[in-house]
Symmetry: C2
Subunit: 348 residues, 2 copies
Amino acid sequence: MLTGEFNMAKLNFKHGKIDLTHGSGGRAMTQLIDELFLPAFNNTYLNQKNDQACLTMPTGRLVMTTDAHVVSPLFFPGGDIGCLAVHGTVNDIAMAGAKPLYLSVSFILEEGLPLCDLKKIVYSMADAAKQANVAIVTGDTKVVERGKGDGIFITTTGVGQVPENICISGEKAQPGDHVIVSGYLGDHGVAIMAYRNHLTFSTTLESDTAALHELVSTMLTVTPEIHCLRDPTRGGLATALNELAVQSQVGFYIDESTIPIRTEVAAACELFGLDPLYVANEGKLIAICHSKDSEQLVNAMRKHPLGKDATVIGHVTEDPRHMVKLKTKLGGMRLIDWLVGEQLPRIC
Amino acid sequence: MLTGEFNMAKLNFKHGKIDLTHGSGGRAMTQLIDELFLPAFNNTYLNQKNDQACLTMPTGRLVMTTDAHVVSPLFFPGGDIGCLAVHGTVNDIAMAGAKPLYLSVSFILEEGLPLCDLKKIVYSMADAAKQANVAIVTGDTKVVERGKGDGIFITTTGVGQVPENICISGEKAQPGDHVIVSGYLGDHGVAIMAYRNHLTFSTTLESDTAALHELVSTMLTVTPEIHCLRDPTRGGLATALNELAVQSQVGFYIDESTIPIRTEVAAACELFGLDPLYVANEGKLIAICHSKDSEQLVNAMRKHPLGKDATVIGHVTEDPRHMVKLKTKLGGMRLIDWLVGEQLPRIC
């Protein structure tokens, strides 16, 4: 073993801290790899220990996606930056109807980051990857000086395989299609905002961070003809629908009374002056399908734990101006415009 | 066009700055994508505008690699963080003998980054990608508050295809094999150190940052049986050889008098108290091959502009302790140990 050859003391995961040597390419970095990353992410690809992983890839179409994660704080009710970074990338793969295969990870660590925090985050990633049945096959670590970063930033990149008969994309929404959400909206963003502001609820409000690929797989079994899938992360439902409207050159008509929002999320949004439709989710999806398929699709989703509150919230309209219109609970009509400015910085 | 629909003023690439809204998922972020990233990286995959790119992949073995880039300063003689980020990942793909196919990019921007700097960096990436014939197919942008980052960090992830008859890996060095370097060592690290310290030379010392996949392709044409390839980046030649020694369970015997090091690099290292063997390179490679193949390989390398100073610097030894030994210019013997500590933080 490398560490044995070095005759170095083992990393102190209780009191140790990251310093610049851990990004040097030298002994300290090798030790971090040997004592933390390899055992945590344990798989044959990573164990090749080259600067790249050699992979067996299936034939056919593949998807590739990347996300930087800069969420603050690093630990929050319901998750941490580690599992979030895995879920985020697994979900972007799943939103193409694809099966996640391989992930890469790059860490940008700030000098002074406690090793115990890094360990917790790395094992949280490893658990999330294991649960999603995806291997973290290659990685990189850089360290920046104190005050030039913020604890840890994680970029995860993923590759996945698209099944042969599946063709899901943002430009495929058709007027008349139904819009489905998989569950309660705003949990992630509000959980983090509340935690940042030391707000407590009578019930614990947690981030919804979760990997959605199994839910998607279930959905595709009953309806391979899903037109669009999107996870409404940064910018929430409102942003995702506006993006899809432009991509598909359509509009949306959404019925506010059907949008699932928890009482405590609505209350917290009221308090913070936020609109829950713009708040980030990390374990929810929007599905757009032909109206004839929606009932069957919702029923299938409800049988999966991550889709049990799935419901139709509206439909696609013909609209050359690509507007997202909301029928309010009071019966009025409101335009759900693009987010201007920033509601919740560093939410993911 | 999206921007037309918004009726927003165009981004001001002369005096504008990044603010938190550019990471919001809202209008400002869409504008950054539409007015900068899409035109710069222009390709059909990115233009899909989904959260993931759907790719056609060749059959067979693929490699995947990732690197975070945190180099400081962002612009330096011979390059910038943008082209460096492309070259670094293209090179890690090339070091498996593979053909680079697709790159993803994630940006972590600090609030206040001048848009003109971002534009320069993005177009430098685009140029480097074009020259390397690789498409930047998907990306992500996050913005952190002033003082929580350092201008820009870039993670590039790459996927490449390994030709059928090629099997290059760090554990394949055999005692007796020859060790080749492709050119002068230490240029990148010393160019940056000198620039940071306002040191000027009579000649301009520039970073060697370059994409090596064509050189590798040339090499494989004459010698498909190359055993190992590695680009000696962070930690330099010394670190790369120590890594390979452990991976292949061998030792190395290197002749100092044969290692190509420029006079000004040697002088600057003397001044800074650095050992050039530990200094980072970004456009050089180490090749290990059977002794019978080395002459032919070096000759082929010398015909390529990036390999014109290629030379054999030593050979692989049988050594259960995996030591890298250097025959010094004075005829003595020195152990080239793993780097302890950090010579040059944030060199890549």
